[in-house]
């Protein structure tokens, strides 16, 4: 009897997991399919799912109208730059919190995370003004800094969790061996935390890649990343679904492919320390 119950449960779990998975994946699938339809088929009612005349026209149009390469490069620069800059700042910060904690360390960590609860639009005005004053509007550099700051609490928090798993005695041994603080971070801590650092890097790259609020508000043409590329195809009247879908597919394709290939690393890093 017990076995039968287990099997039933198994089937139930499988069905539930697939349902949730498909629900989550559906918008992306739908966008992908729509990108191959004509504008007319795209808004057809009832919707056409698979049996339509597949066309690449939308992609050709989008490529003709916008400079996809520039958007792509901006996205790579901003996401990559903000993640690397964030890591350079966060590694020493997480080191000090993990290995030389003070009475206030827990408060600082919570406070840092609490900044993520603030609605971004609340600080849009001051940041916009600062950007004008410093001439950073519509520059890749300015956006890199902002996105780095936005994601820094998460980077520090994640690294702090990974570093806590590293035995302090190993770092003490390196100090006895004559390592300076720089050597300790460079030769001992960082290589040991590679899985954690890699997954932090991946996650933050994805977060920065998908960030739309700041990228849309602080850029115009020169520094605009792929989020702005998508936005440029959305119209208030809800027209041109097919072209919007083509643009969206092109914008998310690189990060999806990267995510696909680094799944293992990502999952391993995110569950690091959770499973002993």
């Amino acid at each position: 009897m017990a076995r039968a119950v287990t099997n039933n449960r198994k089937i139930l779990n499988t069905v539930a997991a697939w349902t949730i998975g498909i629900l989550i994946f559906f918008p992306i699938l739908w966008t992908f399919l729509t990108s191959f339809k004509t504008e007319a088929t795209a808004i057809a009612d009832p919707p056409v799912v698979l049996f339509f005349d597949w066309t690449l026209q939308n992609y050709t149009d989008v490529m003709e109208r916008s400079n996809y390469g520039l958007f792509l490069w901006n996205s790579i620069f901003i996401a990559g730059g903000s993640t690397l800059l964030g890591l350079i700042i966060a590694i020493p910060a997480a080191w000090s919190m993990a290995f030389v904690p003070s009475r206030r360390t827990k408060d600082i960590l919570l406070w840092m995370l609490s900044t993520k609860m603030l609605p971004a639009v609340g600080v849009l005005y001051p940041i916009y003004l600062i950007f004008i004053k410093l001439g950073l509007l519509d520059t890749k550099f300015g956006l890199t800094i902002v996105l780095m700051l936005i994601n820094l609490p998460i980077i520090v928090w994640m690294l702090y969790t990974y570093f806590r798993e590293i035995p302090g005695e190993i770092l003490e041994a390196s100090r006895m061996d004559g390592a300076s603080l720089k050597d300790e971070l460079l030769y001992v801590l960082t290589p040991m935390a590679v899985p954690g650092i890699a997954s932090t890097l991946l996650l933050n790259f994805i977060l920065a890649w998908n960030e739309a609020f700041w990228t849309l508000n602080l850029t115009a043409a020169k520094a605009a990343p792929l989020t702005a590329f998508i936005a440029s195809y959305s119209s208030p009247e809800g027209l041109f679904y097919a072209k919007l879908s083509a643009a969206s597919t092109m914008a998310i394709a690189p990060i999806l492919i990267m995510g696909w290939f680094s799944q293992k690393q990502l999952v391993r890093g995110l569950t690091f320390g959770a499973v002993k």
Binding site: I170, A173, R175, M176, D183, Y187, M192
Partner: protein
Amino acid sequence: MGRIQLKQVKKAFGDVVVIPPLDLVIDDGEFVVFVGPSGCGKSTLLRLIAGLEDTTSGNIEIDGKDATGLPPAKRGLAMVFQSYALYPHMSVRKNIAFPMKMAKMPQEEQEKRIANAAAALNLTDYLDRRPGQLSGGQRQRVAIGRAIVREPAAFLFDEPLSNLDAALRVGMRMEISELHKKLDTTMIYVTHDQVEAMTMADKIVVLRAGVIEQVGSPLELYRAPRNKFVGGFIGSPKMNQLEGPEAAKHGATTIGIRPEHISISKTEGDWQGTVGVAEHLGSDTFMHIHGIPGCDPLTVRAGGEVDVKHGDTVYLTPQLEHLHKFDAQGLRIA
């Protein structure tokens, strides 16, 4: 050279004083063992010497120079940790080379020293392995190798053998002793195991609650413990301590007699008792005797041939020349 002197060294964590001001001299080339029950401050004392903890007050001198404020790397000491603390992402070769790399030693010299250390510690075949692929004993040898190549003024060992199984522990104990004879460098060794202390040390420092109870050679401590605590801590099985009328007969509050200094007979003796547990080890027999006033049970060590069993009545006679007398404060009466 490796003479280490502690002058009024004190350590407190917040309001909790772990080590009240303490003086200690460790001479060049000495093998000193810090021993005491867990929580007695022996590891903290070692970490103060290493520079991994800051002193609250007092001075630490290494070879006559004040090292109190120096970072660990500048003290010229090497440490072997209980958990080995090897770098898991480096090969054995790189682990051993690490301190030399930090010291920017020429490559050739590094190679030479690695080869020497590996040969001395039987690690030559394992140089390209990672620590994760080694057994506990091999890992500990790598940790020692990493310490040797620096040619430090002194070696610090923090319970290095407690993660090893009993058989390996005895072997490593001898290897470390031999290493000390060969290198003739100061070694400070922390352990809670009094057998390790007795077998390895030139000088034992017995600690309790951060206070040095006695400093001396293993046999000094065994023959003339300064107080009841040292008497009970050094020697295995533990010294029997009797109180009451039996002690008063000898003009003391407590008398101590080691299990090996009691003669046993089935017919006559000073004290009469009943055998509780008798442990026959072959070479020795340990007996726990009940019914002796002032100490229950009393432990007796006899030869392996003694034929006693549970419930037997026996007569015991302490060897008076080996009797230790302690006063009301627990201090030795000369």
